[in-house]
């Protein structure tokens, strides 16, 4: 029941916030924040949950569309719980980041914000494949509105591109889900969309491979994987700050989560067969994202491409198919959410204060805003994989794991670490260092809320970097299940 409440709370709060905050930005934001924080508190109670079969912490189900054996089946394990916490944490951060930026139609804005959060929570909790797909598509809609109504100059194109990319690939996944369901039906006579039942589906290997590709496509568009990533720079750049934070921090994770939750366990053999290709695709993403990030002039685009690069590691981690890489994947997703989210907050602050994201017009911000400079430096350094901060543990484990799977591709991907240094530091150089420009000559300072927000994002980055073990222990049972599903001979 907690699980349903977890989704329902932001869902029900959304219209309320819309109505009460329809023309009062402060009130709307605070109410939305309260809703998310309340939800976070609710999510924390899941730690005390227990009793369901390992690795599941809690499960809840009720019939939805019996014609197709569709249920509202929600369940959470360590992996899901981590994603839920990330969603709510970054959701709160996204709302905080929006407070001063969103002045127009605030109620409607936070309505969509809460809806997007609810949809994402649904994705992380749903274990009926139809329900999962439902939420998967659902989270797009509010995100589309966030971009298209409150976005920057080129928002229309970005919003439509984002929507078409993700929905079209989503439909392919729906087809794959249906293929899986019917195959299971033919096999067992039972029509169901339940994850637990479909795990047992006996599939023809070749058919399974095609189905796996269907899932893979949808998840890697969201991830995103090169060359399916081109919606991302546009969407991230054009979205308002809160939207960028949510997109980068949370929505991308649904792709990695989907790969871990569905692709690998349902199609272990097909995944193993496809893994060499996926590893190379991941490595290509790592390098391509890094090179393009370096080439950008727009602060937000740079950060967006850095996401492409980081998520390339996630793809590699999933398809390295061993426990280290999976642990790394989980950590990398959390770490990327925090650091990239924070970098988007910083980019948003720059845009808000100086009305430009063009690095040619920026420079020397450190002298005006030393605190912002320090925070930017911190997150840039975290993003380039400095040991002691969160991203390192993730990337290290992923690389160890993928090295076990394929040393050559890992060696290629590791070059991305050099790329990360190049683009992260050029960002700092061009925005914060060097002489001031006309644009940045005016003196401003961060207010307390902005400082708090960045600080609050920095703390978990350090904690995850130094004490990642509790998080890893939380995810471990779920990943151990994955390991047990892999065909013998795949794991090194």
């Amino acid at each position: 029941m907690t699980l349903m409440a977890l989704i329902a709370l932001p869902l029900l709060a959304a219209p309320l916030v819309w109505w009460l905050g329809r023309d009062n930005p402060g009130r709307a934001g605070v109410l939305a924040l309260i809703a998310v924080l309340a939800d976070l508190a609710l999510a924390l109670t899941l730690f005390t949950a227990g009793g369901d079969a390992e690795p599941w912490l809690q499960r809840w189900q009720v019939d939805w569309i019996p014609r197709f054996g569709i249920q509202i089946l929600l369940a959470v394990d360590g992996l899901g719980l981590l994603m839920v916490l990330l969603t709510l944490g970054l959701g709160a951060a996204a709302i905080l980041a929006s407070l001063s930026e969103i002045r127009e139609r605030p109620g409607f804005y936070y309505f969509h914000m809460l809806l997007a959060i609810a949809g994402t929570l649904g994705v992380f909790l749903a274990l009926d494949l139809f329900l999962f797909f439902f939420f998967w598509e659902l989270m797009l809609v509010p995100m589309y509105f966030l971009i298209s109504v409150w976005g920057h100059e080129d928002r229309d194109r970005a919003a439509i591109k984002f929507f078409i990319f993700t929905q079209a690939s989503g439909l392919v996944m729906l087809l794959a889900i249906l293929g899986l369901v019917w195959a299971h039906h033919a096999d067992s006579g039972e029509l169901t969309f339940s994850y637990f039942a479909l795990l047992e589906a006996g599939l023809d290997p070749q058919f399974a491979f095609w189905l796996m590709l269907g899932f893979f496509l949808a998840f890697t568009v969201k991830l995103p994987m090169v060359p399916l990533h081109t919606w991302l720079p546009d969407a991230h750049t054009q979205a308002p700050t809160g939207g960028s934070v949510l997109l980068a921090g949370v929505l991308l994770k649904t792709g990695g989560y989907g790969l871990l939750r569905f692709v690998v366990p349902i199609f272990p053999e097909a995944s193993a067969a496809f893994a060499p290709v996926a590893l190379w695709l991941g490595a290509a993403g790592v390098l391509y994202g890094a090179v393009l990030a370096f080439g950008q002039e727009d602060v937000k685009r740079l950060v967006a491409y850095s996401s492409v690069s980081h998520m390339g590691f996630v793809l590699m981690g999933v398809f390295a198919l061993n426990i280290q890489a999976w642990q790394g994947t989980v950590l990398q997703m959390l770490a990327h959410g925090l650091t990239t989210g924070a970098l988007f907050v910083i980019a948003g602050l720059i845009q808000h204060h100086f009305h430009t994201r063009d690095m040619k017009r920026l420079g020397g911000l450190w002298h005006r805003l030393p605190r912002l400079g320090v925070m930017a430096m911190f997150f840039a350094v975290a993003s380039l994989g400095m040991p002691g901060l969160a991203n390192f543990v993730g990337e290290f484990l992923i690389l160890v794991g993928s090295f076990r799977a394929d040393a050559v591709v890992t060696a290629v991907a590791a070059l991305g670490l050099i790329g990360a240094a190049v683009y992260s530091l050029i960002l700092i150089q061009r925005v914060f260092q060097g002489p001031e420009t006309e644009t940045t000559a005016s003196g401003i300072s961060l207010d307390r809320r902005e400082r708090f927000l960045l600080g609050a994002l920095a703390v978990p980055v350090v904690v995850l970097g130094l004490v990642p073990q509790p998080v890893m222990d939380l995810a471990a049972p779920a990943l151990a299940v994955l390991e047990s599903l892999m065909p013998s001979g795949v794991l090194p």
Partner: protein, 477 residues
């Protein structure tokens, strides 16, 4: 004709009688309101007259018509659609000199034709219903005779639908020649007829072409945008919903009664046409700024999806088509309703720029239209999503991967133009724009339609369970 038969015909009689009376009455009672009210009452009476049939066995009327659960479902659906269309006819402002009281009668007559179609199980009934529907529609389309566009639309519809009817009839004649019967089931059973299999098949091909013309399946779709544009908004709405729904209904019955799924060549031909419709319809709509034309093109694509679902065959396909029809009717009526509500006398709301910034002035209308557009696009929360799910589910069950790939491609292309309209709604309004506000009754109907669309999207279980039972009864074994 037994009493039983008569009883079965009561709802039809109500509608037919009302139609005739209304047409004549409008000659003497110049006030639109009275006629409109009576028309509405007749539609409600039709729906009420259906109540006794629920839960009864199928009733056949002299080989021609059958009133079974499927028919009842179609009748209910089409009856409600007719009622809503009549309401839109009422709320759309018209210029004084256009009068237009007769239109209510004509619409009721057309609806009668639609009901006959939906219950037909014999070619004669099919023909009669189709022509009653068509001829009334032609007059409705061409009604605003001071508008050149109306006349043009009427003539186009008349000539092309006449031609299509010619093919339909010739096809019937060939089937009759081959099988010796005009009843669906008997001719269907005669299908691998030793004598004239070629006649039968050729006849079937022509017959189907005549039917899918009404559904605007590519390449018989050319009339659609012009007729949509030329007719007045509520008539277009009626055309897009009741007329298409009735034809789809009879097509469903034909398809299953005659076991067309087994006629390889025909199936392939229909599949090609369905695929072409999905793509061409969406391509046509891509950069369209005329909303009626846009909806016309979108309907081409949607009928392609529905046809694809039908082609999957089996009980699930039947359910899929019927569900698709249900959500499509509700959604389309909602969309046309919003446009109708926003129209002014002689100045219909039909261009995209007329909608710009609607959200800022009439947020409720904008949100309703958004829901409808999302439903057409197949976005979750709306009936359109479940509709598309049904299509893909039936396609996947029959492993029609190519056709389903086309459904996905079409949907992806389609997103673009639906989202374009949505974008316009939420953009900053142009300075000159002003919007009418909705009246209470139209608001109620619009809200009801929205709730239906959302209900279909969120909790389709009651409907899907009902459809499963209907399909079970309609397709024993």
């Amino acid at each position: 004709m037994s009493m039983n038969d008569v009883q079965a015909l009561i709802p039809l009689m109500i509608l037919a009688g009302a139609g005739v009376v209304l047409v004549m009455l409008s000659a003497f009672v110049p006030r639109r309101g009275v006629v409109a009210a009576l028309a509405g009452v007749s539609a409600v009476a039709f729906l009420l007259a259906l109540l006794p049939y629920f839960g009864t066995q199928a009733v056949e009327v002299a080989e021609l018509l059958v009133v079974d659960p499927l028919t009842l479902f179609f009748w209910t659906l089409l009856g409600i659609a007719t009622l809503v269309s009549l309401i839109w006819l009422m709320v759309t402002p018209v210029a004084e000199h256009d009068g237009g009281a007769e239109r209510y009668g004509l619409m009721v007559l057309a609806a009668t034709g639609a009901m006959v179609l939906a219950a037909a199980q014999h070619f004669a009934a099919l023909f009669l219903g189709l022509e009653l529907l068509s001829v009334s529609l032609i007059i409705l389309v061409a009604w605003q005779c001071r508008r050149a566009l109306s006349i043009e639309a009427g003539l186009k519809y008349l000539v092309l639908s006449g031609l299509a009817t010619g093919f339909l009839l010739f096809g019937m004649a060939l089937i009759y020649a081959a099988s010796g019967s005009l009843a669906f089931e008997i001719t269907g059973r005669a299908h691998p007829a030793q004598v004239g299999e070629l006649y039968w098949l050729a006849g079937m091909a022509m017959l189907l072409a005549g039917l899918v013309f009404k559904l605007s399946i590519v390449p018989l779709h050319f009339w659609t945008p012009d007729v949509y544009q030329g007719a007045s908004l509520p008539v277009t709405g009626f055309l897009a919903t009741v007329s298409k729904g009735a034809v789809l209904a009879v097509l469903v019955r034909l398809y299953f009664d005659m076991a067309l799924a087994d006629a390889g060549g025909l199936w392939m031909g229909l599949a090609v046409l369905a695929g072409a419709s999905m793509l061409v319809g969406n391509w046509l709509a891509l950069r369209q700024n005329q909303l009626k034309r846009l909806l016309a093109y979108s309907s081409i694509a949607h009928m392609g999806y529905a046809l694809a679902a039908l082609l999957a065959g089996g009980a699930l396909a039947l359910e899929a088509v019927v569900f698709y029809l249900a959500f499509y009717l509700a959604t389309t009526l909602g969309a046309f309703g919003v446009l109708a509500v926003l129209s002014r006398p002689q100045h219909e709301c039909e261009r995209l720029d007329q909608l710009q910034g609607l959200y800022h002035h009439r947020p409720a209308l904008a949100l309703i239209l958004t829901v409808m557009l999302f439903s057409l696009a197949g976005v979750p929360l709306t009936g359109g999503f479940i509709g598309k799910f049904y299509v893909l589910a039936s396609g996947a069950a029959s492993e029609l991967w190519t056709l389903m790939a086309l459904v996905i491609a079409g949907s992806a292309i389609g997103l673009y133009y639906y989202l374009r309209v949505v974008l316009a709604l939420f953009r900053a309004p142009a300075e000159t724009s002003s919007f009418r506000s909705a009246t209470v009754p139209s608001t109620i109907v619009l809200v009801a339609l929205t709730l239906v669309v959302l209900w279909l999207g969120l909790y389709p279980a009651p409907l899907s369970d009902g459809l499963a039972r209907i399909a079970e009864l309609a397709l024993p074994g």
